[in-house]
């Protein structure tokens, strides 16, 4: 994709007006438009353009994953050889049970891990079984690993600009 998109003031106002959620009324875009002084059609057109540009990933339900049964949430972290991490990271990200997969910097000596993959299950055993599949894929290119389970959501407001 190209560089960041330049949003105009109306796009920004539209994001601010909807980032907490769409109104639960039959014509939500109309209502948002009335707040912003534009038509419902313009709200839809702008949302479509923001989706197409990737500024909005998607529009819909954002579940609390604990509440929908994914009670074991493990951040699996791996110390993978620098020369191999991009190829292997792409393969880990392609596993159907991995929801996020990133390369991040190490913070030595406290934190030797450079590959992060989020894995979810309804039990810790399930997360560990999935982590074992990642370990198998990484093989000898992984020097050490860990799984950090979340034990409490302290905040989940999502992005607010």
């Amino acid at each position: 994709m190209s560089g960041p998109l330049q949003l105009d003031a109306t796009d920004r106002a539209l994001i601010v007006a909807t980032q907490g959620g769409l109104p639960l009324v039959p014509r939500p875009y109309q209502v948002v438009g009335e707040q912003l002084g534009i038509s419902g059609e313009e709200v839809m057109a702008r949302l479509r353009a923001l989706l197409d540009a990737g500024v909005i990933r998607r529009i819909g339900a954002v579940p609390n994953h604990y509440a929908i049964g994914w009670t074991a949430n493990g951040m699996t972290v791996w110390d993978v050889a620098d020369g191999r991490v991009d190829e292997l990271g792409a393969r880990v990200g392609a596993l159907d049970f991995v929801t996020h997969c990133y390369r991040r910097p190490r913070a030595l000596p406290d934190w030797p891990y450079n590959l992060f993959a989020m894995v979810h299950g309804d039990s810790r055993d399930e997360v560990h079984e999935k982590a074992a599949l990642i370990a198998k894929l990484l093989g000898a290119d992984c020097r050490r690993s860990d799984v950090l389970f979340s034990t409490r959501i302290l905040k989940k407001s999502g992005l607010r600009i």
Partner: protein
């Protein structure tokens, strides 16, 4: 923002709520009556969909219903960061960290680095400012793990309860 506890179990969603969660995590229609269009595809009425979404939001099964913004596409940044928080002052530090609007979500995890949060800002320098503020307010060192490469992101999970 109140703290959210993981449900204690024994909680079950109605089949129709599961379907709403599974089918409406993206592609919410951009049309004048989007709830009516989405309801039709689910085989329920617009009124029922609106009522069920309200309940799912009130019960915190959904954290919100609307657009998910990818702030990097509008020139902003997301950074994962962590703290080693002494247990004796964990709640106090959580309150200080959560008070910053730049903190999009925050999880307790089992590790020496026991607080993991995501900073989201509209501008690059906003991240450094937020980190400096947290370090000043808490007296703790912030470990920042900016994304160096994204291999995969797709936070869609089907309901399991």
């Amino acid at each position: 923002m109140p703290e959210l506890d993981a449900p204690k179990g024994g909680f079950r969603l109605a089949a129709v709520d599961r379907e709403i969660i599974d089918k409406l995590q993206g592609d919410f229609p951009l049309c004048e009556y989007p709830y009516a269009a989405a309801a039709e595809s689910l085989g329920i009425t617009e009124d029922e969909l609106l009522a069920r979404l309200k309940c799912l939001l009130d019960d915190k099964v959904l954290t919100r219903f609307g657009p998910m913004v990818q702030i990097e596409r509008m020139g902003g940044s997301f950074v994962l960061a962590a703290l080693k928080v002494p247990e004796a002052c964990y709640a106090e530090v959580a309150a200080l960290v959560n008070a910053l609007p730049q903190v999009a979500h925050n999880y307790r995890r089992e590790h020496a680095l026991n607080m993991w949060f995501v900073l989201a800002t509209e501008t690059g320098p906003g991240i450094a400012e937020a980190i400096a503020r947290i370090e000043r307010d808490t007296g703790l060192t912030v470990y920042a793990f900016p994304k160096e490469k994204e291999y995969f992101v797709e936070m869609k999970l089907a309901a399991r309860v």
